[in-house]
Symmetry: C2
Subunit: 258 residues, 2 copies
Amino acid sequence: MAGRLIAASLGPGDPGLITRRAWQALQGAARWCYPVRRRGGRSHALGIVERAGLAVPEDAVELIFPMTHDTETLARAWARAAQQIVPILQAGRDLLFLVEGDASTFSTFTYLARMVQQLDVSIAVEIIAGVPAYNAAAADGAFPLAETDDTIAIVPAGYGLQELEALLPHFDTLVLMKVKPLLDPLIDWLAAQGLLQEALFVEKAGTPEERIVRDVMSLKGEKVNYLSLMLVRNPNRQRGTMIRGCKQKPAAQPQGEA
Amino acid sequence: MAGRLIAASLGPGDPGLITRRAWQALQGAARWCYPVRRRGGRSHALGIVERAGLAVPEDAVELIFPMTHDTETLARAWARAAQQIVPILQAGRDLLFLVEGDASTFSTFTYLARMVQQLDVSIAVEIIAGVPAYNAAAADGAFPLAETDDTIAIVPAGYGLQELEALLPHFDTLVLMKVKPLLDPLIDWLAAQGLLQEALFVEKAGTPEERIVRDVMSLKGEKVNYLSLMLVRNPNRQRGTMIRGCKQKPAAQPQGEA
């Protein structure tokens, strides 16, 4: 009987945001594995459990996922990591993959699990959900992500301002990930939209080095960290009519409503 | 010195998804308050801590938020709840507001905190972030919400199919909240888009009664629970060029990129 591959989502960095289930799993019999950028490199995920006061077991397995956008290099790294852990799983031991944030949201775990199941379809995968970084940013910045019936778009800022311009009318909240490469034009765009007062900049959300900036204009020209996001409220969204749940029957629904 | 109003996000229902910080806060000296739909009614949030094995303190305060979309009735309820708790806070005791899911995401807490600070601006508000229901749905259904550079839209389904049709080309993942009122037309729309195999239906995500349905077509004509969502992958999204973070300097960015 093969062991299970279990993703332990640890939240964005604050050990207080580890869930009780992940915490319990960390104290259990499963062997740990964790991602690093290069051999012997620092692991964010491992840093979270260390800050929580846990000792790293000697048999914890380092998996290398290089910092690159080259899809072939990445695919090779995922395949190598899967080949590394499949024998451990096949020997019957559960493996806990330590992951920052939430394992379903912008995480390497998705690729790793896919590769592992390609190698051995009998290996069961389990995921312990966690707190995503932007939820921690919203909490720490007292910035509501969504009120009743609101819409949220979570978009890497790198798709550019034209894309944001197209999305803005549809959303009450934009969560812009990785704003670093276009921070200055983004600030100008927010100013042009009259949204400067509606934006919150958060660097390293949910980590001990978290920085929250309300006066986003003050960031112009600054070199910010790679792990930087912006939350933007759009008070100008025009809402269409809503089809409510409790008062209408499915049979009474029109087909092409707005 | 007034007490603090602290939102304890408890996750979607599984007591294992309570964070360590919220768990610690629940064992602390703060008085509890929790939302109900009507006097003496069942509280989902309270149910989570009860399932976690905690006893409800005798001085826990019930706050009534009626199940209605009438904005005046709701505003009165928020104001009444705020008037109920402000004296407790002014007397110096911390108050823990128990909230399902994440307090920043589709939660009553936003309104309550606003009303409390309108009554007494000196009252400090803190938020402990939590796991949103759709993250639990994704984990339990092994459904990745976002891979690298993906885009996510979180949209109440009630805005209708025309709205979804407009958003689809921009997103890799749609998280459709409250699908009940238009489940049948939504299933037909997914079929027409060739997305039936890319959809996952989850009822009462992250609760003990969670139900996951992969064959969404089988739901046609069924009356599902009010707390039902659908996760939809869109493998057909055409991606624009991305502006990468690590290789370019902010000064080198063009202004209107796609």
